[in-house]
Amino acid sequence: MAYTAQDFKSNQEVRWCPGCGDHAVLASIHRALPEVCEALGYTKERIVFVSGIGCSSRLPYYMNTFGFHGIHGRATAISTGMKVANPKLSIWQATGDGDALAIGGNHFIHAVRRNIDINIILFNNQIYGLTKGQYSPTSKLGTITKTSPYGTVENPFNPGALALGAGSTFFARGLDSEIKLTQEILVAAAKNDGTSIVEMLVNCVIFNDGAHATISDREYRADRTIILRHGEPMIFGKNNDKGLIFRNRKLEVVTIGQDGITVDDLLVHDANCKEVGIHNLLVNMKYPDYPVALGVIRNVKENTYDDNVRDQLKEVEAKSTIKCMDDLLHSGATWVVE
């Protein structure tokens, strides 16, 4: 049976602040899941939403699926255990920049390293919202918040660079208001076997309004972001006249028509390329030097942890003569008392 977005909406009242970017991501998820189920042959009961603590971690309550609301930072570990226990489940994790990258940083990098087949949606608003406005590990240097009244003095993480450094097989970046793009990314994330990291740039209207405004504002979004699609030239701009080329060992923004540059000179996005070099350059692009990359930046196939676990179990089981507890109890050195 074909699902609709309605099938995935729970009857719970959504309690995020009006105007919060999370609403748009939730809508994208509701819309993406019917397509995910269709494409992968899933039924709704196989889907589990897991979360930690923070605004975005309320998401499982807004899904009419199985859900587990964990503790701060630990959702990744909980998801991992769930997937290993039952690999048939389609596990989706909602997490924030504090939850995933501060208190849960260790679990995050190790999940990526293992390449366990879970989909992590990382809501990055560069602020702690639920605790009412403290800086997060993604807050820009100098950000003024309640715990940094004179500005932060620490460098932020770039979640994409962190993920790629940990060996990520799938990294994508979306923008809260680009619902169609998010939908497309989520379907691709679901299709990837392995840890799929989807960084969602979301706004926090209360504590960090305009978190991503420099790139997300309608007026100049097209000029300050680039949507990457596998197999397509890296082209962007309001007039579709800008592009990326690789010159002097770095990326360079060029204008089509200037200096004899044509579409054919532009880089063509290869998300499936195992070599991580160019993906690294792409995730690290920052405005104003570059457009910020959106879309699926990296999508490569590697063995997953859950598959490896299953295969090893099968392999040792086939070789073993010990089939049950009674066999085990009598294995090795034993002696008989008559």
Binding site: S51, V84, I322
Partner: protein, 610 residues
Amino acid sequence: MQHKVIDMQNVVIRFAGDSGDGMQLTGTLFADASALYGNEISTFPDYPAEIRAPQGTVSGVSGFQVHIGSGEVHTPGDFCDVLVAMNPAALKANAKWTKPTATIIIDIDAFDEAGIKRAGYATLDPFVELKIEDRNIIPSPITTLTKESLKESGLDNKSILRSKNMFTLGMCFFLFNRSLDHTYEYLEDKFKKKPKLIEANKKVLFDGFNYASNIHAIPNTYMVQPAPQEKGVYRNINGNQATAWGLLAASEKSGIPLFCGSYPITPATGILEELAIHKYLGVKTMQAEDEIAGICTAIGAAYAGNFAVTTTSGPGLSLKSEAMGLAMITELPLVIVDVQRGGPSTGIPTKTEQTDLAQALYGRNGECPIAVMAAHSPSHCFDAAFYAGKYAMEHMMPVILLTEGFLGNGSEPWKIPSMKDYPEIHPPIIDSCEGPYKPYHRDPETFVRKWALPGKAGLEHRVGGLEKNPDGVISSDPINHEKMCAARAEKVARMANFIPKQEVIGADKADVLVVGWGGTFGHLYSAVQQMRSEGKSVALAHFDYINPLPKNTAEVFARYKKIIVCELNSGQFVDYLRAKLPDFKYLQYNKVQGQPFIVKEIVDAVNNIL
């Protein structure tokens, strides 16, 4: 030469050397050979935290004590009859554990001036300095003879020196009239791919045996006859192995696959290692990135329908505290094994204690009672782990199983049970329900909720760390919160309806009831039996179930004039009993030295109050 064979009922042997000298292996092989011969045995490894501490220093001494008997053996023994000391430091660290009549075998080659100084003696005469010059000391040139034995083996010097322990073992086999066959078999298996090492080790072992038979310093040998044992098939087992096997057994009896998420920590690592070996039985082991991930992966696995376990020691239990609260409020089955060690903080990691009881009982935020059980001997870890799994799964809650380094590393012969003698385990899994599934609707008798697994249509629901109402909807309603806290506590309390009654060893009424829990059983039992044989009015109540307590606990306590609670901490169980059953007066005997009790100190403590 002719040797007189003297029959002995019990012998305690302590092997001591540098932590790289292979004393743990030597002791284990001696214990195994004795167990195969039919002796009752109990072992106690006493090793330093450092893998290779500075050679020849007291801090690097590794010891392994074996108690063998022709009658009942319940402890590794207080003081030893034979001490093997591979160097002056080993002698210095262990002389205090020798009986006045003890035989001490030393490697005299290691007792040169440099060696004696390195061990920190004030003089060059260790025997006088340690006041053990009247012990039966057998100085043997073990290093020289091992080199001699292997000079044509083709082995390098390092490998030759590493075989010294086999020479010593050979000597001990002669001293106790043991066959070398078992050790030969061990060597053949261990070095399957290195035949040269098989031959070399066998030769050294044999030469050590012959050396002992030829020297005049050993006029007598000793015979410890097989113990009268129940008919059956036996094996040696240590506590960590037994714990792992008990968990596997609970998985088999429930039909629920086992998942273990753990992080290596002394002295609990052996459980994870053991489970990892048995993947062919379907167990999924995961070495997590940290202790918190260990328990959180387990919680995820429990939600997804596995029998989930996490294993750790005290510091790891601290790290898992918040997640234990999560398992408790989501009411998921989970076994948390804590192999206790000396604390606080890193403490003395390789030494044994019972100092995590308060942490197990209370160490979480909020109202968070959790069932607490304890194992009382290495082999009992099997049953304890099995029942921890049974109660966790059938009652839908986390259960903490406390064992101890002393149990985890200690071993004893174990009559192999048959799985048909263990009960089935029936977790309350549901396949469907009428209307939407409400996660916190409870069985009115047991207060247990149903386990609805993801993947089953119609059972979609959400649980988590936020307080919910019984329907599973987030609620911060004050009255609901109080009711939910009470219901969760009541579920744990009602486990008392399912656990066995507290038994007493000894008379139904007596002057003194010795009360203990966990790994002190062997010592307390031996002390009480000794006193009873002397006609003293003493009995023992040893607790395997701590929260909840067996229902008849007060009724048991009321039958005795005095109660003395003995434990390897400053009084954590006695404090708990004072809070739970305040109508009784409790005396206490405590020790916090990272060492097990000795039988004599218990006897003295009880005699003091008789």
